[in-house]
C-alpha cells in the first residue's frame, strides 16, 4: 500500500482526537516524506516489505463478536482492564475501578471530553519532531486508546492492564491505537499493555504510547506481545521524565510477524532514572526489533538497558540501543547490555549498542555479545545425566531468567515463566 492508501484507510475511522493543526502538520509531513525503507539508517535492517505490500481494510465497521476476554487476560490479574478490539474501545468488556477518584482510567475519547485541560496539556507533546510517516499517520488519525491519569500523591496498587486485541478473520485489517498515560507529582502506577490476536488473519497495528512522569513519580510499564504469526505491529513509545522520577520498562516479544518497538525515553529532569529490559524470542521467519533511545538531558541521570534475544528458525532481530548524553547532563551513569543466543543456521542478529556523549563527567559503558549455546556447559549437564534437550531448555531458561526476574508484578512474572517453559518444551 502506498502512503496515500494508508491515509485513506486510517482517515475512514471517525477520529476526532487530534486537533486540526496537529493533523495538518502531520499530513504536510506525510506529503513530503516517504514510508520508511531500507535507505533509512534506522530502518535498514527492518524489512517492511511484507507489511507495506499487503492490502489492508479498515477495521472500524467490524462488529465485535466476543463476549468474554478472560482467556486473553493475564492470569490472576482481574482488576482494572481496558479492552480494545482493533483499536476501538470495548466498555462492556473492560473493568474499571476509578479508585477513590484518584485515578482516571478510560478511553482517550472519554478522557478528552472529561479532562480537556489535561488532555491538551499533554497530548502530542512528547514528539519533538515528527519521526516517520507512521507516527504522523497516528497523530493525524488517532482513533482511540487508553487514557490514564494518576493524580498527585496517589500510589496506585493494582496493576492496570491495557488489552489490545486484533481480530481479522476474513479480511486483513489495519488499525491504530494511541495511549496517553500521565503521572502527576509523587504518584505511582503499574501498567501492562497486552497485545493478542483473536484469529489467525493478517493485521497491522500502528500504535503509539505517550507517557509523562511529573516530579517524583514512579512508573512500571510492561509491554507484552504475543500475537498470531501474521501480525505486523509498529509500536512507538515515548516517555518524558521530570526530576527525581523513576521508570521501569519491561518488554517481552513472544510472537508476531514483524514486531518493532521504538522506545524513546527523555530524562528531562535532574536525577531521573530509567531501567529498560527486554526479551525477544523470534522463530520461523519472524522479525523482532527494538530501537531504544535514552536521552539524558539533565545531570545525575541514570539509565540501564538489558536486552536478551533467543533467535531461532530463520528469524531476524535488531537491537539498537542509543544513549545520548547532552552537554549539561553531567554525572550521568548509563549502562547498556545486549546478548543474543543464536539457535539455528539461518538467523540474523543485528546489534547496535551506541553511545553519543557530549558531557565529560560521565560513566557510560556498553556491551554486546552474540553466540550460541555453550557446548562445554551442555556437555557438563549431559555428563550428569540430563538429556540434551532438557539441558538446552535449562540453559535457555537460565539465559532468559535474568530479564524475566526484572518483572516486579508477580502474577505477570508467573504468567511469562509458564509461557516460556511451554514455548521450548
Amino acid at each position: 500500500m502506498t502512503k496515500q492508501n494508508f491515509i485513506e484507510l486510517f482517515s475512514a475511522s471517525d477520529s476526532n482526537i487530534s486537533e486540526t493543526k496537529d493533523r495538518e502538520k502531520s499530513l504536510e509531513y506525510i506529503k513530503t516524506h516517504e514510508l520508511p525503507n531500507k535507505t533509512d539508517e534506522n530502518w535498514r535492517n527492518t524489512d517492511l516489505r511484507t507489511l507495506v505490500e499487503q492490502i489492508y481494510f479498515s477495521a472500524h465497521t467490524k462488529k465485535n463478536r466476543i463476549t468474554s476476554i478472560n482467556e486473553l487476560k493475564i492470569n490472576g490479574l482481574n482488576d482494572n482492564c481496558l479492552v480494545f478490539i482493533n483499536g476501538s474501545f470495548q466498555k462492556e468488556l473492560s473493568k474499571i475501578e476509578n479508585e477513590k477518584n484518584n485515578i482516571f482510567l478510560g478511553s482517550l475519547a472519554e478522557g478528552k471530553k472529561m479532562y480537556p485541560d489535561i488532555f491538551n496539556k499533554y497530548f502530542n507533546q512528547s514528539e519533538k519532531e515528527i519521526e516517520t510517516v507512521f507516527t504522523a499517520l497516528n497523530t493525524a488519525y488517532a482513533q482511540n486508546g487508553a487514557f490514564i491519569y494518576v493524580s498527585e500523591n496517589f500510589k496506585s496498587q493494582k496493576p492496570i492492564q491495557i488489552l489490545n486485541i486484533s481480530d481479522s478473520e476474513s479480511q486483513s485489517t489495519a488499525y491504530q491505537i494511541r495511549n496517553l498515560i500521565i503521572l502527576a507529582k509523587n504518584s505511582e502506577v503499574n501498567v501492562i499493555t497486552v497485545s493478542k490476536s483473536l484469529s489467525d488473519g493478517i493485521s497491522f497495528c500502528n500504535s503509539q504510547n505517550e507517557i509523562f512522569l511529573e516530579a517524583n513519580s514512579i512508573l512500571n510499564f510492561n509491554i507484552f506481545q504475543e500475537e498470531n504469526i501474521e501480525t505486523r505491529s509498529l509500536n512507538n513509545t515515548r516517555l518524558k521524565q521530570s526530576e527525581n522520577t523513576q521508570s521501569t520498562v519491561n518488554i517481552a516479544s513472544l510472537s508476531g510477524a514483524i514486531l518493532r518497538n521504538d522506545i524513546k525515553i527523555y530524562l528531562s529532569g535532574e536525577n531521573a532514572r530509567t531501567e529498560i529490559n527486554g526479551i525477544y524470542l523470534p522463530t520461523n521467519e519472524q522479525q523482532f526489533d527494538n530501537y531504544i533511545l535514552i536521552k539524558h538531558e539533565k545531570s545525575h541521570g541514570k539509565s540501564r538497558q538489558l536486552f536478551k534475544g533467543i533467535i531461532a528458525g530463520q528469524a531476524r532481530s535488531v537491537f539498537s540501543g542509543r544513549v545520548l548524553v547532552d552537554k549539561n547532563a553531567q554525572k550521568t551513569d548509563a549502562g547498556q547490555l545486549n546478548k543474543n543466543l543464536l539457535l539455528t543456521d539461518y538467523v540474523k542478529a543485528y546489534s547496535r549498542p551506541q553511545l553519543e556523549i557530549y558531557a565529560d563527567d560521565v560513566q557510560c559503558s556498553h556491551g554486546s555479545s552474540t553466540g550460541q549455546i555453550d557446548k562445554e556447559a551442555l556437555f557438563y549437564l549431559q555428563s550428569r545425566g540430563i538429556g540434551e534437550k532438557q539441558a538446552k531448555i535449562l540453559m535457555l531458561n537460565a539465559f532468559a531468567k535474568e530479564v524475566i526476574d526484572k518483572i516486579s508484578i508477580p502474577e505477570y512474572k508467573n504468567y511469562i515463566e509458564n509461557l516460556f517453559e511451554n514455548k521450548y518444551f
Partner: protein, 484 residues
C-alpha cells in the same frame, strides 16, 4: 634539568612543528575537474591506455554520486571544482641518485626528520626503506637495491604502472573497486601517485617499508593510492606518515589504500597521521577522507592495522578487512586524539566470510577541547563464516567539558557458530588518579600525559619502534595545554 624535564619543556614550546612551507618550484595544474584534466594527469604520467580508461570510468561514476552525509561530522563541503588535482616539484621527477634532488626538497625532509640518504639511515638506529611523496609526486625511494635482491618491488605507483602493468592490472581496485564510495571514486579518477609494494612468495621483507606523504602547495588536493600485495607465505611491515603546512583554508586529502594478503602471508600496516589539524579556533586544517581496505585472500593470512590519529581537521576513515580465507586473522589497533575543533569519525570494519576467522578491534579515543571523537565500526559475520570470532573494545577518555565522544558499533551476525563480543566504556580522568600523581610530585599536566599514555599503551605497543617514539611525542604535543 634532567633529560626527561628537558623533553617535556621542549614539547611545551612546540606548536604544529611540521607546519612550514617549502619554497621550491612546482608544477601545478589549474583548478577544476573534468575529463580533460584527467587525461592530462594520465598523459603527464605516461600511463598505458587501460589506466586512462579506468580513471574515466571512475570519474563518470563519481559524477553520479553524492557526498556521504551519515558521518557524525559537521564541516563545509569542499568545492571539488576549486581544487587543483595535480601538483609536484617541477624539477624532473625522476632521479638517478640523491645528489640530483633539489636541495630545497632534501631540506624539507631533513626538517621533518626523515633521512632520505641511505648512509644516514644505516648509521642511525632505523632500518627503514622510505618512499617520499610530495604533493602529487613520489620523490625518492631509498634502499632499492637491497630490496631488489630479494625480489621485492617497492616503488612509486607511477613507476609500478610503467614497469609492472600486469601486477597493477591484476590487483589495482581489486579490494576497493572504483564505485566503492564517493571519495574512493574520486581518488580512482585523479590519483597521482602513491606507493606500490609487492613481496614475492616466501620472502620475509628484511626492513620496514615506509611512505611519507606531504601536502606542500596551497589549493591542491592530495590523492594518493597505495597498493600492497603480499604473495604466499611472505611478510611485510609497512609504515605511513603524513604532514602538511599550516594554512588557513582547508585542504583535501582523499587517499585509497589496498592490501592483498595471499595464502599464509602477513601484512602489518601502521600509520601515524599528523596532517595539519587547523588552529585553535578551528580555522584551516586538512580534510582527511580515506578509504583503507585489506583482504585476507588466502587461507591463514593476516592483516594488522595500527593507527595513531592526531592530525586533520576532519577525519573520515575506516580501515577495514575482508576475511575471505579460512583461518585468516585481522587486527585493528587505533588511538585517535582530537583537540581544539577537530572532528574524527573513525573505526574499523571486519567482514568475516571464511571459516575459523578471527578479528580483534581495540580502539582508544581521546577527546579534548571542543573536539568530537567518534568510533564507528562494523563486525559482520556472514552465513558461512563458521566459528568466526571477534572481540572489540573501544574506550574513550574525555578531557574538558566541551568535547564529545561517541561510539556507534554495528554488529551483524548471520552464523550461529560465531562468537562476537563488544565492550566500550567512556569516562574522564578521575580526580583520584590526578591526586595520586600530584602526591608523588608529578604536576597535573604531566599526570594527564602519563595517564593518557597508559590509556593508549595497548595500541602504541603494536607500533614499530621508530613510530612508537614519534607517536608518543605526538600524543604529548596534542595534549599540551589541556589542563588548567
Amino acid at each position: 634539568m634532567s633529560q626527561e624535564d628537558k623533553i617535556i619543556s621542549d614539547l611545551k614550546n612546540k606548536e604544529y612543528e611540521a607546519g612550514f612551507f617549502s619554497d621550491y618550484e612546482s608544477d601545478v595544474f589549474p583548478v577544476g575537474l573534468n575529463e580533460d584534466i584527467i587525461s592530462q594527469i594520465s598523459a603527464k604520467k605516461n600511463e598505458p591506455e587501460f589506466m586512462l580508461q579506468f580513471r574515466l570510468k571512475a570519474f563518470r561514476y563519481w559524477k553520479t554520486m553524492t557526498e556521504p552525509q551519515w558521518a557524525n561530522l559537521h564541516y563545509e563541503k569542499p568545492d571539488f571544482q576549486n581544487i587543483s588535482y595535480y601538483a609536484g616539484p617541477k624539477n624532473k621527477p625522476k632521479y638517478n641518485s640523491l645528489d640530483e634532488v633539489d636541495p630545497e626538497l632534501l631540506k624539507t625532509f631533513e626538517k621533518l626528520g626523515i633521512p632520505l640518504k641511505e648512509q644516514a639511515l644505516l648509521t642511525g638506529v632505523s632500518n627503514v626503506a622510505v618512499d617520499a611523496v610530495i604533493d602529487s609526486v613520489s620523490v625518492h625511494t631509498s634502499f632499492k637495491e637491497v630490496l631488489n635482491e630479494k625480489g621485492i618491488i617497492f616503488c612509486s605507483m607511477s613507476e609500478a604502472i610503467q614497469e609492472h602493468p600486469e601486477l597493477i592490472q591484476k590487483y589495482l581496485a581489486s579490494v576497493v573497486p572504483y564505485n566503492d564510495n564517493f571519495y574512493s571514486a574520486l581518488n580512482c579518477a585523479v590519483f597521482t601517485d602513491g606507493s606500490f609494494a609487492y613481496i614475492p612468495k616466501g620472502v620475509r621483507c628484511p626492513m620496514e617499508l615506509s611512505t611519507y606523504f606531504r601536502i606542500n602547495q596551497a589549493n591542491t588536493g592530495q590523492f594518493e593510492r597505495t597498493l600492497i600485495v603480499a604473495d604466499e607465505e611472505s611478510y611485510v611491515s609497512y609504515l605511513e606518515g603524513c604532514t602538511a603546512p599550516m594554512r588557513d583554508e582547508n585542504q583535501l586529502h582523499a587517499a585509497v589504500v589496498e592490501i592483498v594478503a595471499l595464502k599464509g602471508s602477513e601484512v602489518k600496516y601502521s600509520t601515524v597521521q599528523n596532517w595539519y589539524p587547523g588552529d585553535k579556533k578551528g580555522k584551516g586544517g586538512v580534510y582527511n577522507f580515506v578509504t583503507k581496505r585489506g583482504i585476507c585472500k588466502g587461507d591463514s593470512s593476516k592483516i594488522s592495522w595500527t593507527q595513531v590519529e592526531t592530525g586533520s581537521a576532519i577525519t573520515w576513515k575506516y580501515p577495514s578487512t575482508i576475511l575471505l580465507g579460512d583461518h585468516s586473522i585481522a587486527e585493528f589497533y587505533s588511538v585517535a586524539v582530537t583537540n581544539h575543533h577537530q572532528q574524527a569519525d573513525t573505526g574499523s570494519k571486519m567482514t568475516h566470510i571464511g571459516r575459523n576467522t578471527k578479528s580483534t578491534i581495540i580502539s582508544k579515543g581521546i577527546s579534548l577541547g571542543n573536539s568530537q571523537n567518534t568510533y564507528r565500526g562494523l563486525v559482520k559475520i556472514n552465513k558461512n563464516a563458521q566459528n568466526a570470532r571477534n572481540y572489540s573494545q573501544c574506550d574513550s577518555l574525555l578531557i574538558g567539558d566541551q568535547c564529545g565522544s561517541h561510539t556507534f558499533p554495528y554488529i551483524d551476525v548471520e552464523n550461529p557458530g560465531a562468537v562476537v563480543e563488544h565492550e566500550a566504556t567512556t569516562s574522564k580522568i578521575s580526580e583520584d588518579q590526578i591526586f595520586y600523581c600530584n602526591q608523588r610530585g608529578i604536576s597535573a599536566e604531566n599526570a594527564v600525559s602519563l595517564i593518557v599514555n597508559g590509556f593508549a599503551k595497548e595500541v602504541l605497543n603494536k607500533l614499530p619502534m621508530e613510530f612508537a617514539m614519534e607517536a608518543q611525542k605526538l600524543l604529548s604535543l596534542t595534549l599540551e595545554g589541556s589542563v588548567g
